[in-house]
Symmetry: C2
Subunit: 332 residues, 2 copies
């Protein structure tokens, strides 16, 4: 703690709260109101899940985009709650999929209660998010959010079906991360701009900003899964390796390695074990596979920033620009 | 096969198809179009899940109600696909919860693929159903369906949390079946009437019809779980007993039994085994617990029918009336 990186992050958070803090607070209230219930057991699970809610990246993106595009209104506050609720639903179901015991150092729903409860509580969050989205006047947000969550699920299903496929192409990898991560960031920014009554062109640019930023974030996450920051991420290292999920650093490693080494690396990836995880590290260093993936994340961050060029200058625009740096700095 | 009951059922199905067969067909096409995808793995799962789609009760209710209330239109055809998709999503997730290997004699998604795929494919069906609902002009259907699915999930979460509670009250039992079964039948009839431009009063009566019919169906199902028809239901007997789910016949048994017998019955329910399942049967007969539950199902069917009284005479109205008999006859 208290490193230069932490100070920069804290500083960024302070400025986010200055820009859209009251809107974030209002969206948290809307979130809580939507999930009010008479059933004590559901109240308990909700209270528990609240403990592992994280950085609120998606509602923050939605509100900052709205602010940068002309101003936050009541629709934005509702939609910020909607995208956060969808994200939480996917986290609850991810923990079932991964059979995870902890998330952000808190017991997951499936370990604290059971798998059944996790599946149903994830469903409960999904249906409430759609119910909340339908409180807006038109069906526009429902349509957009429905379409995005379709793509999120498709991305996750594709990821599962490709597990263990060492020949996963980069194209396919980007299809997967576009679905499982970038899509919800894209629609958050898109809705932020749309409900601030931007031009069609601006709405499209902000959607692309969110998509590129989401890809940069996910590549950085995939690098962190290999490189470290165990305490910060609250996850174990090499989890993608153990689950035989081919991520960009591993795909690049196979591309960059000499044929003989590539053969050995494939052998290590095909039979995950602690010993093989240790044996993989020197190859990652030798072929600079992490640097190669990091360069791609950086390209996405640059591309994201370019989409903000036509927005008027504002604190929120500056913060959005800095978020693109933040996305990739985590992996340095 | 070819019993009197089967002939009556076949006759009812023929008349349903005469009344709303072309609309059912159109709604099946809409269902399939919504789930079109480029991803081969998702196509495979979809094709597989289609095999265990059942009686299509909810879309049939929606379309018959619409027809009885003035006529089926394009909105109804879309909404029929929506309610069936939601129902299928809950079935896919139920199979995860029950760790079931077969449904309607077909391997479940979790046994054919894996739990991860089941969870995600259920999510995929949920989000597509909301996406499809948002293709209507107003947010009305999204709001109604969002609200109903909230209640469905709440009912299922409550059921899980009450598993093993031998003191489950009738009130609580009805709360559970209202959520997990009756709510989706109620909203199907409600939307059928609403989009046929009925009066508010008629819309409310049809909603109540669906709710009462759903309760009658669920009580009959709970009786069948104890009584039989293994081949028809494609389920094993006593599954509620083994899972320690207190259903109406079991609740009634504890109410009706002499104190001494009630104590013994509680012991059997508390430690489910094949032997204890066999020991339970004479008590069910002695105290006529099944008859008692059947009477309640019959009361719900009568109450359902009363809600149709103000509709003009039509084939569809007659079929809806007969469905109330069909709901309970299955348990005789």
């Amino acid at each position: 703690m208290d490193t230069k990186k932490d100070v920069a992050e804290q500083n960024l958070i302070t400025r986010i709260l200055e820009a859209v803090g009251s809107d974030l607070l209002r969206s948290e209230q809307i979130y809580a109101e939507e999930l009010k219930t008479d059933q004590p057991v559901i109240r308990d699970i909700y209270a528990h899940v609240s403990k592992f809610r994280g950085k609120r990246i998606r509602p923050t993106l939605l509100l900052l985009t709205a602010d940068a595009c002309g101003g936050v209104n009541a629709n934005h506050q509702i939609l910020a709650a909607v995208v956060e609720m969808i994200h939480t639903a996917t986290l609850v179901h991810d923990d079932v999929l991964d059979d995870a015991n902890t998330r952000r150092h808190v017991a997951t729903v499936n370990s604290r209660w059971n798998t059944e409860t996790s599946v149903l509580f994830g469903d409960y969050l999904f249906t409430h998010s759609f119910h909340l989205a339908s409180s807006l006047e038109s069906t526009y947000a429902c349509r957009k959010i429905g379409h995005s969550t379709n793509i999120v699920c498709e991305g996750e299903l594709t990821q599962i079906s490709e597990r263990g496929n060492l020949d996963l192409t980069e194209e396919r990898y980007f299809e997967i991360i576009n679905g499982k991560t970038a899509e919800l960031c894209a629609v958050s920014c898109q809705l932020g701009a749309y409900y601030a009554e931007c031009s069609e062109e601006e709405v499209a640019a902000l959607e692309q900003f969110g998509r590129d930023l989401g890809c940069a974030f996910q590549i950085a996450d995939d690098i962190l899964d290999i490189m470290g920051e165990e305490t910060q991420a609250g996850k174990s290292l090499g989890s993608d390796f153990y689950k035989q999920k081919m991520t960009l650093p591993l795909i690049r490693l196979l591309q960059l390695a000499e044929p003989g080494d590539a053969e050995i690396i494939r052998g290590l990836l095909a039979t995950p074990s602690e010993e093989n995880w240790r044996k993989l590290t020197p190859y990652l260093n030798e072929y600079r596979a992490i640097d190669s993936a990091r360069q791609t994340a950086s390209d996405y961050a640059t591309s994201a920033r370019a989409n903000l060029a036509k927005l008027p200058q504002s604190d929120s625009r500056t913060i959005l620009e800095e978020l693109t740096d933040f996305a990739i700095q985590r992996s340095h």
